[in-house]
């Protein structure tokens, strides 16, 4: 397996059992993402984008096929190993931000460090990233006191605080207006260009998809 590829997926299949019916969400996906690449994935609802993300993020197991992330074979991972993968190797950004409402922005970032077993605290490099994200002076606020754009940037900071190998962003601008969308997409591109962060981003928006180096189209559980 070449170390140039951060993600390598071969003939990935996922079948869900819904009641008494098997539903094939992924029907043989093949995908390679190079280290430091920013890839956009577009496709209609039900095309399997989210399922692919969930498998890459270690949230669910594939039914068949192989998935390697940063050289690790996900198929051979136990539940505990997949939990460990989410701590250190993968960072998630969600459409609905998903910040914990009871914690401040700083607390939301620190909890990710705590979960990863890292002593909460921001070093100078990370403070520079926070400034890049434009939230350096908003971190003592709770999510309810932040705009959607600010919340999403805190969510991005939380996703990368443990230096994950890949950042998975699921419709990160889906709930934002154009101005905030552009700000968030600009931040993702900056992270990719300045820090070499590998990013996979799901989006419905062609303009957002254009921020990536490459656009992958999915339909009916396959990359087309």
């Amino acid at each position: 397996m070449s170390s140039d590829f951060m993600i390598r997926v071969e003939d990935l299949r996922k079948v869900y059992r819904v009641g008494e019916i098997d539903v094939a969400a992924l029907r043989g996906v093949n995908l390679e993402v190079a280290r430091g690449e920013f890839v956009s994935i577009v496709g209609p609802s039900g095309s399997g984008k989210s399922t692919l993300f969930h498998i890459l993020g270690g949230l669910t197991k594939p039914t068949s096929g192989s998935v390697h992330i940063d050289g690790k074979d996900l198929r051979k991972m136990s539940e505990a190993e997949r939990t460990d993968l989410r701590k250190k190797t993968v960072g998630f950004v969600f459409q609905k931000y998903n910040l914990l409402p009871t914690l401040t922005g700083a607390g939301n970032i620190a909890i990710a460090q705590d979960i990863a077993g890292i002593l909460p605290g921001f070093d100078n490099d990370f403070k520079a990233i926070l400034n890049l994200l434009g939230i350096g002076n908003r971190l003592h606020h709770k999510p309810r006191a932040m705009s959607g754009g600010e919340q999403q940037r805190v969510a991005i900071a939380r996703a990368i605080v443990n230096h994950p190998a890949i950042l998975l962003a699921d419709e990160p601008t889906g709930n934002l207006d154009t101005e905030n969308s552009n700000a968030v997409l600009g931040v993702l591109r900056d992270l990719n260009e300045r820090l070499g962060q590998t990013i996979l981003m799901i989006t419905h928006n062609p303009e957002a998809a254009a921020y990536g180096h490459r656009i992958i189209h999915m339909r009916d559980g396959r990359v087309i």
Binding site: H54, G57, L59, T60, A80, T83, D84, L85, R86, K87, K88, F92, F94, N98, L99, L100, P101, T102, L103, G107, A110, I111, A112, Q113, D114, I115, A116, P120, R158
Partner: protein, 367 residues
């Protein structure tokens, strides 16, 4: 960081947190108040018994040390005891329980009582003037709001309050001994006989000597230190089991309250649990958060419960000081704390397990 999340989670739902804390507090208060009343009643009885100034107590056969016996001993035994070596004085009293077993009326001869220990200290009024007179202590006076001249009914017999006495000497309510003997149909009989010995060093010798008398073989004969030692919850099996029942009930109450509180918390926080899992939180981490929340609730509830106990004591000592006496039993604070924490953690167990087992993808899509 986990601790901050725990505290913030509790602050985020102040009403639920408050209700849970109060529920745990009530649970703790139930235990501490019951134990406090048990200890208080026993200590009060002991204090008043010791206040008689006797060295030895004699009760008829089959009467327990802490039980109120009916009057079955001939009052002639009082003089018999006075004639025994080293015994300097003897006092026979009749005890009759009223108010469903909470309060006792003591029948005594005031002159003999005065001779025995100096007699009562009168706060108002004075000794019996007739057979239908009654002396009440200050607590009874405060609870029943009676005064000299008031009529109180003892077993439907109207009795006139002739004096209010300082508490701490034998009786809360005292009537002439013949009156009580008539009322309970025990003419010439007494319930217990108090003995004074010439020298404290001779108490055990006198007890041995009395027990050696064949006619007294089955009588209960105890020294006052023995009596004090017997005034314990451990010597009242019924009370002990009652305390156990209340403790069990309070564990169930704590369990149910925390169970419901944590169950709704887990349901409400389904999405947040999903987020934590997406961040790499293990089931143990999720459990740790919920258990710490529960522990904090239980600890605050415990402190609140201790505070409530001071409230119940104030209420009891203000409203019914003659019927009930409540003490603050520090020894039981940690026990009540352990019970509260155990009940709460038990209640958090299933919700915690449910949270820990939550599927991350389903949790993240929860609205």
């Amino acid at each position: 960081m986990t601790n901050r999340l725990v505290v913030e989670n509790l602050r985020h739902r102040p009403i639920r947190t408050l209700l849970s804390v109060i529920a745990v507090g009530i649970q703790v208060t139930m235990i501490l108040t019951l134990v406090g009343i048990s200890y208080g009643m026993l200590d009060d009885s002991n204090r008043r018994a010791q206040g008689v100034g006797a060295d030895i107590l004699v009760k008829p056969p089959s009467a327990g040390l802490l039980s109120f016996s009916t009057a079955t001993m001939p009052d002639g035994m009082v003089d018999y005891f006075k004639g025994q070596p080293h015994i300097t004085d003897a006092l026979g009293t009749v005890v009759y329980v009223i108010q469903g077993g909470i309060t006792a009326v003591t029948g005594l001869d005031l002159n003999a009582f005065r001779h025995f220990n100096g007699g009562f200290r009168y706060l108002t009024g004075g000794p019996f003037q007739g057979p239908d007179d009654i002396l009440v202590d200050e607590f009874y006076q405060r609870e029943k709001r009676v005064h000299v001249g008031s009529i109180v009914r003892i077993s439907n017999r109207p009795m006139r309050v002739c004096g209010v006495i300082a508490s701490g000497k034998l009786a809360r309510l005292a009537v002439p001994i013949q009156t009580l003997q008539d009322m309970i149909g025990a003419k010439g009989k007494v319930s217990q006989i108090w003995l004074k010995v010439d020298n404290a060093d001779n108490i055990n010798r006198v007890i041995t000597q009395l027990k050696a008398i064949p006619e007294l073989a089955n009588y209960g004969i105890w020294s006052m230190p023995e009596l004090a030692a017997y005034y314990s919850v451990d010597n009242l099996p019924a009370l002990k089991y009652f305390i156990y029942v209340i403790m069990s009930l309070s564990i169930i109450v704590g369990f149910l309250v925390v169970f419901l509180s944590m169950y709704t918390a887990v349901l409400e926080r389904t999405r947040e649990i999903g987020v934590l899992k997406a961040l790499g939180a293990s089931p143990a981490y999720i459990l740790k958060i919920l258990f710490r929340e529960t522990l904090l609730l239980a600890l605050i509830g415990w402190i609140v419960g201790i505070g409530f106990t001071y409230g119940t004591r104030w209420l009891i000592m203000t409203l019914v000081p003659a019927s009930l006496t409540q003490e603050i039993v520090y020894l039981w604070w940690p026990i009540a704390g352990v019970i509260a924490i155990a009940g709460a953690l038990l209640g958090a167990f299933y919700p915690g397990l449910k949270a820990a087992r939550q599927d991350a993808i389903e949790a993240l899509s929860y609205e």
